[in-house]
Amino acid sequence: MKQSKSRVVLTGLGICSPLGIGVVPYWNNFLSGVNVLKRITSFSTTEFGCRHAFQVNERDLINNTRDNTSQYVSRSNKLLLVSVRTALTDAKIKNPVGEDVAVLTALPHGNWNFMTDFHRKLVVCGPDGVDPMAFPSSLINYASSYISTAYQFKGPNITFASGIHAGVEAVNFAASLIRQGHVTTAVVSGVNVLLADIWAQWSLRNMLCSSLKKGSTGIFDARRNGFLIGENASTLILESAAVAERRKARVYAEVLGGALSFGKDRRDYAYAMETALHNSRRSYSDIDLCVLNSNGLKHMDSEEIAAFRSIFKEGASGVDCVAPKDNNGECEGASGILQALIGAKCISGRILPPFSSRKYNDPRAAGGIQMRYGSRTKTIKYVLINSFDVDGGNAALLLGRF
């Protein structure tokens, strides 16, 4: 058994999502398969086939950010603030030593609207047309810095913008910082909000789901032809196991190890997952649950299943899986953190969630992996998280019962 000094555990979970703010309401709604998909009203979608997304309720967000109405705090910052606050409350961390706390945030798009608007005003109106205070808040690393400043956390502050898998990259690096003794605690978050420009880009790349009118929303549904965007900010509190034990913190799970790879096919996905198992000194036969990346993009989903089958071989159909993007949407920067949050809840709550919330998935599209509807009790020791970006970055993470 490794010394608890070098072990890293999850002691707090936070979330700001359309399914709920705070981990308890979120989890109940997630397990019940609540559907919060709504038509987009914040910008015009008339020219696109896809017009729906999983959006955080504006009233809920306002109610949870009444103490911060600064014009320099973007929507993604607000989601992040709420998520971090709920995670710190959940972890019952009070007055930490600022130098011992790192902040890592997966935020691929940064404060996109702030940057583009600032730049546009400079181009059109010149320097007299811009507010100098808006300049620092336009930078990509601003949101993460804002968290460090708001809570006076003085450990490393890093923004990961690598893509959809950036959250798992951030967790892996945070665990490394704790294992090396640089910090005792890390606040690791991922954020995604609806942005017209990003929406347009996904749409023009034919990656968004336009098959809703045919009644197809389920991942692995034969008629599904893309993903649905989900707004989300999720946060994990990682701590040194020794510190967590000393303060008698509740431990959701242990972070055992992770890995990265680059490439867009099954071998690349499999490499990250296999290396994560190797780095954690575990084998595929130990895995009780796999949290899939699958988001409705047919080709990539089938590559993920092929990778999964290549690792688990004949045992693949016996391993439980969950596809959380089915009723959370593709949460981009928040995806990996959300997947880890779900994995940690399954371990600590000894619960196996439904594979997805839809009953019209197509087992053939899912390559014969287990598709359960409804949750059930099960002791879960090890959860494999698989996360990858549509443009080639991959990251995997193994969580275990502490």
Binding site: S44, E47, F48, G98, E99, A102, V103, P108, H109, W112, M115, T116, D117, F118, H119, R120, L122, V123, G126, P127, V130, M133, F135, P136, S138, L139, I140, N141, Y142, S145, S148, T149, Y151, K154, P156, N157, I158, T159, F160, A161, S162, G163, A166, S176, Q180, H182, D197, A200, Q201, L204, A259, L260, S261, F262, Y271, N279, D389, D391, G392, G393
Partner: protein, 405 residues
């Protein structure tokens, strides 16, 4: 834990493109600051910039293989190619090589002008090409590099504003030290753009004439551009292939001020914390350090803060200079270029000077190497970087010795 060495350097800078041109300019104190040519600065208070004027992408890369190659993307791919060639590295198909890049803005700034904004304001997104939008993502350049060269380990993007270079080096260091990677290309890049020039001009951080870090008469920073990339490699792998080793990275320190997102901590608490973390990781004392390559932007607040931090850690015993006095502040490339310079300092035993230094600022009570480079046997170099948002990143490099105590 594995040891991490530097075996390749790629440089595109306002004082020269290519490692040797860059180095000769640094030790000769070349000033790259001139009136800005790439932007119309007529509406701004200031007009000076440090621009790259000798970069020819075709000399290094096949542009046809890059989709919509913006200048920023060209900088990134070409700098990595230079580092590959410099190191004589062969990229096998089953490699464990990664790329970790960062930029202050990458090409996201471009979303504010041109076709994208035009279409947005008219709800006419669909009449343009997806690739134009795709290129605006902050992570696109690391992806393009990994695709272009066939790296299989990772394509990571860490936007840490002006502290990008040292932050990505810290991340890459961990990837290699833990055994996850055999080699990682780590660096930063940015091109001259209106967002950055106009933004810094608007907050009155820019100098109207030249860049004078730590000088009493300093008037601010000068925006620059370029790219700097280090090939960081597992020592055993480098020795096996008989690679030239510039130096060894032996530690890093990362911290946040936790004070303000726009103003540095007045006493440099965050820089002190990052420095102490880096020295502790390196297993050295402050007196072991022979040279500090300062962030030294030449703004009143940064230089005072940094000088206080340097004084608090080293006293007045260590030589300090800021090469931004010559290069300007190259944004995402800044600390990466400073890391490239630091690697050459430990290899060659010459310290580049802090040019334009004529009137010492009593508030910057440190040992500035003024105006002329000196030869000095250097074993350890520390490079500082500080960013908007209060992000600090410090790295420690050492002269390479196979046996290190």
């Amino acid at each position: 834990m594995r040891r991490v060495v530097i075996t390749g350097i790629g440089v595109i800078s306002p004082v020269g493109t290519g490692k040797e041109k860059f180095w000769q300019a640094l030790i000769n104190g070349k000033n790259a600051v001139k009136r800005c040519q790439k932007l119309d600065t007529s509406k701004y208070r200031t007009h000076m910039a440090a621009e790259v004027d000798d970069f020819q992408a075709e000399k290094y890369i096949d542009l046809k293989r890059l989709k919509h190659p913006t200048l920023t993307a060209q900088y990134a791919v070409a700098a990595v190619k230079m580092a590959i060639d410099d190191a004589g590295l062969e990229v096998r198909e089953d490699n464990k090589i990664g790329v970790v890049l960062g930029a202050n803005t990458a090409d996201t700034w471009a979303a504010g002008e041109g076709v994208m904004y035009w279409h947005k304001t008219r709800n006419r997104y669909s009449s343009t090409s997806a690739e134009i939008y795709e290129n605006l993502h902050a992570n696109m350049h690391a992806l393009r590099v990994a695709e272009y060269f066939g790296f299989k380990l990772c394509a990571t993007t860490i936007p840490a504003a002006c502290a990008v270079g040292n932050t990505v080096i810290a991340y890459a260091f961990d990837l290699i030290r833990s055994g996850s990677a055999e080699a990682v290309f780590a660096g930063g890049h940015d091109q001259m753009n209106t967002f950055v020039f106009g933004g810094f001009d608007k907050i009155k951080a820019m100098a109207p004439d030249c860049c004078r870090p730590f000088d009493k008469d300093r008037k601010g920073m000068v925006v620059g551009e370029g790219a700097g990339v280090l090939l960081m490699e597992d020592m055993e792998s480098a020795l096996r292939r008989k690679a030239r080793i510039y130096g060894e990275i032996i530690g890093y320190g990362l911290s946040a001020d936790g004070y303000s997102v726009a103003i540095p901590h007045p006493h440099g608490a965050g820089v002190i914390q990052a420095t102490k973390m880096a020295l502790k990781m390196a297993g050295i004392n402050p007196e072991d350090v022979g040279y500090v390559n300062a962030h030294g932007t030449a703004t009143i607040q940064n230089d005072r803060m940094e000088a206080k931090a340097i004084h608090a850690v080293y006293g007045k015993k260590v030589w300090v200079s800021s090469i931004k006095s010559m290069l300007g502040h190259c944004m995402g490339a800044a600390s990466a270029l400073e890391a490239c310079a630091s690697a050459l300092v430990v290899e060659r035993g010459v310290i580049p000077a802090n040019i334009n230094y004529t009137h010492p600022d009593p508030e910057c009570d440190i040992k500035i190497l003024a105006n002329t480079a000196i030869k000095k046997k250097i074993d350890i170099v520390v490079s500082n970087s500080v960013a908007f948002g209060g992000n600090n990143a410090v790295i420690v490099m050492a002269k390479f010795r196979k046996e290190r105590t």
